[in-house]
């Protein structure tokens, strides 16, 4: 499994181009690798290390810090059931137990058919919709156990319009050459022109 393929590489270069320091692109590039392979392969990490000019160990250090970046294959669909306090109060535990029974896996496990990986996750910022869950980071609100079974059936039938794990946003930032004003590297560059035009009184703290 693979380094970034030509298509990904083109996008990677675009992303790197939006940061004054290449290393800042690390997390977006890791997402890109995950989008390509469904998880972040070691080859991809090594490739990304080359692209941003750090060691593979440094990429691993960053990659392993973040929960969304999987370093082992997962199911086509990550089903993340929220176990935050608000969902907890409205039956998250019951929902999780129900999920364990219907899917036959514990949180962190993947179903035999390799379709679904179950996770019990911390608050996903939908507290007023408790109990809720995400399928590949797409929300499902106020989920009853019946709703859950329905969701699972749809996922198994592949009748939900949700891309397999790794694909995050369907829309990417895209900027035409002539609209991009250019990154601001930390060294060099004086006071921005518009500030010079109207002398700034900032910084006096008052």
């Amino acid at each position: 499994m693979a380094r970034l393929n030509p298509a990904s590489l083109t996008i990677a270069q675009e992303i790197i181009g939006r940061y004054p320091v290449p290393r800042s692109a690390l997390i977006p590039l890791l997402h890109l690798a995950q989008e390509q392979d469904g998880y972040v392969t070691e080859d991809a990490m090594a490739h990304i290390a080359e692209l941003v000019g750090v060691t593979p160990a440094e990429v691993m250090g960053t990659c392993s810090f973040y929960e969304m970046l999987k370093r082992k294959p997962v199911g086509d669909y990550m089903v993340n059931i929220c176990n935050g306090i608000s969902c907890h109060l409205l039956g998250a535990s019951e929902l999780i137990h129900h999920a364990e029974d219907t899917l036959g896996v514990k949180p962190g496990g993947t179903t035999e058919d390799g379709k679904i990986t179950l996770e019990a996750v911390e608050c996903i910022a939908a507290c007023t919709e408790a109990p809720c869950l995400q399928v590949n980071y797409r929300y499902r609100n106020q989920v009853s156990t019946q709703d859950f079974d329905k969701i699972v059936d749809e996922l198994r039938a592949g009748t939900v319009g949700i891309a397999p794990h790794g694909k995050l946003a369907k829309v990417r930032q895209q900027v035409r050459e002539d609209r991009w004003s250019g990154v601001s590297p930390p060294d060099g560059q004086g006071e921005p022109a518009w500030m010079v035009r109207n002398p700034s009184t900032n910084g006096d703290g008052s």
């Binding site: 004054p20 692109a25 935050g84 004003s181 601001s184």
Partner: protein
């Protein structure tokens, strides 16, 4: 989510009911980008002045006045950066995601205004990784705004005002919401908070340069403030908590929801019980406790209901408004489980940098799990408190830290609150004839 039609003046959620409010067309139709135009007619310093006058408090948790923080940029040090904190992960908190999904252009306009006012030459929009839809909405909005000339080279055709906004994704780590961890993460590192001092990234931040970190909601207020004037904003709400504020009320209430209310004048009782808002508890239930400002905040009870949603007052009462997350628990709540739930969160989200937080929070979690499993020992309750005391000496509010950032001490709040008020419920979990177990230390010499 419910946003009752009949509501007081809404500033930043005004487009939530507008079908196409998230598109450039819808945004422009409803007065979008007027604030930016207005700002660009003013001198940057005067824009900053308006924000000072508005005395806009940060909405990310710390509640620090934005205008003042902006003033901390050391003069003559360039470039300066803007980092938007869209990492919303504090349990119970649900507002920034809506602001990004429903009104992305408002946030973008806010960013542009901040950049114009302070000479910030590039903006990084850090969006929590799990919020795929918010990322799409922002990406789409940015693409439109770039094409339409609002963002990028020569904003609105201005010869000398150009700002790029880079949309950045997180990848799942609550601690990255802490502003210095956010910057570390944005630099491609593990999201571990930086040592203080410097106390504000405004002096030394991204790439070691002056950096303004503001919360999504904070920035979303800027277009209105510039269009209508800081004074008009300050006129709303209370003396020291001005404007409006968005609160998410969740948990055991009839109609949980996200409500924008006048800041500082509304009370907890209003927002929890008023039918225009959360509509009170379910029939036959009584209030046990509620979290006034996110998982990090000490819990409030019946007697706190008439406190206004006003920073100073809530602080004085021994908790915080934090991230505007109100979580209501009624009498059916198992406090021990609720407490464990919150502690587990902090244990799981500790970045691991400081010993007391890394080891202490997970120890607390293990003890609570053991108690819940019926394996508790009489001495465990005091042990819990003493471990808390070693993480946050004195267990005061605001917490004293033996750690780099407040996450560790935050795990103390729920335990302190719950144990103090509901010790009996903890004891009820202890086996009738609990025998005390200890292991001898095995340090060899």
């Amino acid at each position: 989510m419910s946003t009752p039609a009949a509501q007081d003046l809404r500033i930043i959620t005004s487009r939530f009911d507008v079908e196409d409010g998230h598109t450039l067309a819808g945004y422009e139709r409803t007065g979008g980008y007027a604030g930016l135009r207005r700002a660009m007619e003013m001198a940057p310093a005067d824009v900053h002045g308006e924000v000072r006058t508005a005395s806009l408090l940060g909405r990310g948790g710390a509640g620090f006045p934005a205008g003042v923080k902006w003033g901390f940029c050391p003069p003559g040090v360039w470039p300066r950066y803007l980092v938007v904190n869209g990492d919303e992960s504090e349990p119970g908190t649900y507002k920034d995601r809506l602001l990004m999904e429903r009104d992305p252009h408002q946030l973008i306009e806010g960013c542009l205004i901040a950049c114009y006012a302070l000479g910030l030459s590039q903006c990084f929009l850090y969006v929590r990784g799990e919020m795929a839809h918010a990322q799409e909405r922002l990406a789409a909005a940015l693409n439109e705004a770039y094409e339409a000339g609002y963002v990028g080279a020569n904003v609105l055709g201005a010869k000398d005002f150009s700002v790029d906004i880079t949309l950045h994704w997180g990848a799942g780590a609550y601690i990255v919401g802490e502003e210095t961890a956010l910057i570390e993460s944005l630099e491609g590192n593990r999201g571990m908070p930086r040592l203080k001092p410097p106390y504000f990234p405004a002096s030394i931040g991204l790439y070691g340069k002056p950096t303004i970190v503001n919360n999504v909601e904070t920035l979303a207020n800027l277009p209105w403030i510039v269009s209508n004037g800081g004074a008009a904003f300050a006129a709303m709400g209370a003396e020291s908590s001005t404007g409006t504020r968005v609160f998410a009320v969740s948990g055991h209430v009839v109609s949980p929801g996200v409500f924008e209310v006048p800041f500082g004048t509304t009370t907890f009782r209003d927002i929890i019980f008023d039918s225009r808002y959360a509509g009170g508890l379910h029939p036959g239930r009584s209030l046990k406790t509620f979290i006034p400002g996110g998982a990090s905040a000490p819990w409030f009870f019946e007697e706190h209901l008439d406190i206004p949603l006003e920073k100073a007052t809530v602080d004085k009462a021994g908790s915080m408004l934090g991230s505007g997350a109100i979580v209501v628990m009624d009498d059916t709540t198992d406090v021990v489980r609720a407490c464990h739930n919150v502690v587990r969160f902090f244990a799981r989200e500790s970045c691991g940098k400081c010993t007391p937080c890394r080891e202490g929070t997970s120890w607390l979690e293990m003890i609570l799990s053991r108690i819940l499993a019926g394996q508790g020992r009489p001495q465990d309750l005091d042990l819990l408190m003493d471990v808390c005391d070693n993480i946050s000496p004195g267990i005061n509010w605001p917490p004293r830290q033996t750690t780099i950032c407040p996450l560790g001490p935050s795990a103390v709040s729920p335990i302190a609150s719950a144990l103090e008020r509901f010790r009996g419920e903890f004891e009820a979990y202890l086996p009738a004839t609990a025998v005390s177990v200890t292991t001898a230390s095995g340090v060899a010499s």
